[in-house]
């Protein structure tokens, strides 16, 4: 569809598409939207590295490639290492990386491939300071293997290996704060983002492009299949995750924290509003919800303090 010039001027999201229709994600998949935005932000001169995860399938089985960019599929735990190697090779070949016009090397991995099995490679990548961007799309479980918990799965969530039943649910741990681990590496740039706020996400992607060194973005990506949620509610759920402060949007740049505006100005909405749209939380009791609510508010206060002190 031709977009009228008058509208084009107001759009901050690039109009061109580098992620083709015909990909094989489920309806309402947040991850596929996210990948589309990444390519809109970075364009064709991008090398995307995808480990074992839903995106392996989304990007297409051989001989198909739904990306209008170069794609290297890799083993589950290796994203951080492979993007390091690619970056080193480009430098060795005298090819410009990052910056306005350089090649973008992007790691695109799930929460399992990032927070669990790939954490070591991520750490190595961050600590060595490679010029690449690592995006963890966070659908809060291992979806590709059929909805098993990851360390990024929230407290109270049903998954196939933390099922609910007579004994109550099994996921008793709060979500691992991967971004805090990333920030502990003193990276130049780390941020959270959400598919419900694409302009914010694209702005962050563009910022990551400009800032030398490793960048990390944790993207909140609803998964209707794994979250047992209606396929047309993904954006609403993602928005509520921000508005309840369950998944606040913020940036960490050279030691400074900044909370981004879609996050609640005053009181966050109650966590139930986020929970009730998703079947995965149905085993939670009143007490469980209060427990999760307390954790959310505590973490939110912590973040606000950080932004206040290191803003």
């Amino acid at each position: 569809m031709e977009i009228p010039e008058s509208i084009k001027k107001r759009l901050t999201i690039p109009a061109e598409e580098h992620f083709f229709a015909g990909h094989t994600a489920c309806q309402g998949c947040g991850a596929s939207l996210g990948l589309r935005y990444v390519l809109k932000a970075y364009g064709k001169k991008t090398i995307v590295v995808i480990p074992a995860c839903c995106s392996t399938i989304i990007a297409g089985a051989w001989p198909y490639n739904t990306l209008d960019a170069n794609l290297f599929h890799t083993a589950f735990e290796t994203t951080g290492a492979v993007i390091s190697g690619i970056e080193a090779a480009l430098k060795a070949r005298g090819i410009k990386v990052k910056g306005e016009d350089g090649v973008m090397v992007v790691g695109w991995a799930g929460d399992g491939g990032t927070a669990d099995i790939g954490l070591q490679a991520l750490s190595g990548f961050l600590e060595r300071g490679h010029d690449a961007v690592y995006i963890m799309y966070d659908n809060e479980a291992y979806m590709n293997t059929g909805i098993q918990r990851s360390s990024s799965t929230p407290y109270g969530a049903w998954t196939t290996n933390t099922p609910g039943g007579k004994m109550h649910f099994l996921e008793k741990r709060h979500k691992k704060k991967v971004i805090d681990i990333v920030i502990a590496h003193e990276v130049p740039y780390a941020a959270t983002a959400s598919v419900a706020f694409p302009e914010d996400f694209i702005r962050k992607l563009k910022k990551a492009r400009k800032i030398p060194g490793p960048s990390f973005i944790q993207l909140f990506s609803p998964c209707p299949t794994g979250w047992r949620s209606p396929t047309d509610k993904s954006i609403e759920i993602a928005r509520l995750a921000v508005q309840t402060a369950y998944f606040p949007l913020f940036e960490y740049e050279n030691g400074k924290y900044k909370i981004n505006m879609p996050s609640p100005k005053k009181e966050p909405k109650p966590i139930e509003e986020f929970l009730k749209l998703q079947g995965r939380f149905k085993y939670m009791t009143r007490e469980d919800i209060e427990n999760l609510q307390a954790w959310v508010l505590r973490e939110w206060e912590k973040l606000k303090k950080l932004a206040e002190v290191f803003g």
């Binding site: 490639n65 794609l71 083993a75 690619i86 090779a89 060795a92 070949r93 490679a121």
Partner: protein, 395 residues
């Protein structure tokens, strides 16, 4: 072509490897330390620090990542190298398949070291042989010179057939032992080994490419066949490159199995790596004492030189296979392979397997002589007493 005047240097096997990496103009080295490989990557780092080599050095956080980063580098068009040993190689296992499956000509030096427990840092070939089916070519070096030459040739072969290659040297016996190595002046290495022309290039955006995607049962099979075919094709490339190396630099590697005294030998010793240095010396002495023995040193274990083995088998009565390795529940790995090759042929020499030197146990000229006596007895008897002999086992 400039005239070849070798540069003689007294170096360890590890330094020989590092010099070869420098001379091969490797662009990316991603590595993780492990004894006895460490001095390879230290020496490379030193070259870089001194401005003698222009290499992007990625000091990764594990061997798994060393191989993953090498794979990334190679996929992005660079000439990539890494080195490891034993536990490190085992940790890389998954990614070894990735390199060959993605058809990336990464070259790696593996220093043969025994697997733990019990901990051992000494020589044993089981680590590399356990990676037999990962789709990597394997070159076993007898001495430091062969480490140096092997790395240079491996890059050329690997980049021709787009299959990764492993150059294997013995822990300490080569890795830390100094010997004279004839090195090749840089311009001549450059003539022999031009810059890499990658099969595909992630930095070429003229069309979008996708590497390593999911393949259905409809296609996977053909991908495997292509790799199998590339390995088969590699045999000719190996011989050609080995011959070219000989013509340019005087050391001929056109044989995948290096042979000595085979033509009129009753039996030959067959084996790989540094232990064959001992065997060769022992065979010279045994010949002087009237023994009709020869040797067959398997240089390339993958692809396996079936045809050359067959030729040897046709002319001898027996083969004593020396394995510094073991496949538990079966027998020595080279023995197993060699026997398998000969099954469908009429060449059926008596074959006996001697397990020697595991975990760095000394293997000496008198040992070879003792094995020769045993083998002579077996051939005279015309039958085997036992197929596998754990030689010098403390009973």
């Amino acid at each position: 072509m400039a005239e070849y005047k070798p540069i003689r240097k007294v170096v360890s096997g590890n330094y020989a490897a590092a010099y070869a990496v420098k001379h091969a103009r490797v662009q990316v080295v991603a590595a993780y330390p492990i004894t006895p490989q460490t001095s390879i990557i230290e020496k490379i780092a030193e070259f870089i620090a001194n401005g003698e080599a222009d290499i992007q050095y990625v000091p990764v956080e594990s061997e798994h990542s060393a191989m993953a980063a090498s794979i990334g580098a190679s996929a992005a068009g660079a000439r990539a190298f890494t080195a490891t040993s034993a536990q490190g190689l085992a940790l890389m296992h998954e990614m070894l398949h990735w390199a060959s499956g993605a058809r990336l000509p990464v070259v790696m030096v593996n220093v043969n070291r025994a697997m733990a427990p019990p901990w051992s840092v000494w020589d044993d070939q089981t680590d590399s042989l356990a990676q037999r089916d990962t789709g990597w070519m394997q070159f076993y070096a007898e001495n430091n010179q062969e480490v140096y030459d092997g790395v240079l040739m491996s890059f050329k072969v690997a980049e021709t057939v787009n299959v990764p290659a492993m150059v294997i040297e013995s822990a300490f016996i080569l890795s830390h032992t100094y010997d004279v190595v004839e090195m090749i002046p840089q311009e001549l290495v450059d003539e022999f080994l031009p810059p890499r022309k990658p099969l595909y290039d992630l930095a070429d955006f003229s069309r979008a490419i996708s590497v390593g995607a999911l393949a259905t049962p409809n296609d996977y099979y053909e991908f495997r066949y292509k790799l199998a075919k590339a390995m088969e094709d590699a045999k000719k490339v190996i011989k050609d490159v080995g011959k070219e190396f000989g013509e340019r630099f005087g050391r001929d590697y056109s044989e995948m199995i290096e042979k000595g005294y085979v033509d009129d030998a009753d039996f030959v010793f067959m084996g790989m790596g540094s232990l064959m240095g001992t065997v060769k010396e022992a065979v010279d002495l045994l010949r002087k004492e009237g023994y009709k023995v020869g040797y067959a040193k398997v240089r390339w274990f993958r692809p396996f030189p079936k045809e050359e083995l067959l030729e040897i088998a046709e002319s001898v009565k027996g083969i004593a296979v020396l394995d510094r390795n073991f496949s538990f529940g079966q027998e020595g790995i080279l023995f197993n392979e060699a026997k398998g090759v000969l099954y469908n042929t009429s060449a059926r020499p008596i074959m006996k397997n001697y397990i020697v030197g595991l975990g760095g146990r000394d293997f000496t000229v008198p040992d070879v002589k003792a094995i020769a006596e045993d083998m002579k007895r077996v051939i005279e008897a015309g039958k085997l007493d036992r197929e596998v002999e754990w030689y010098h086992l403390k009973r």
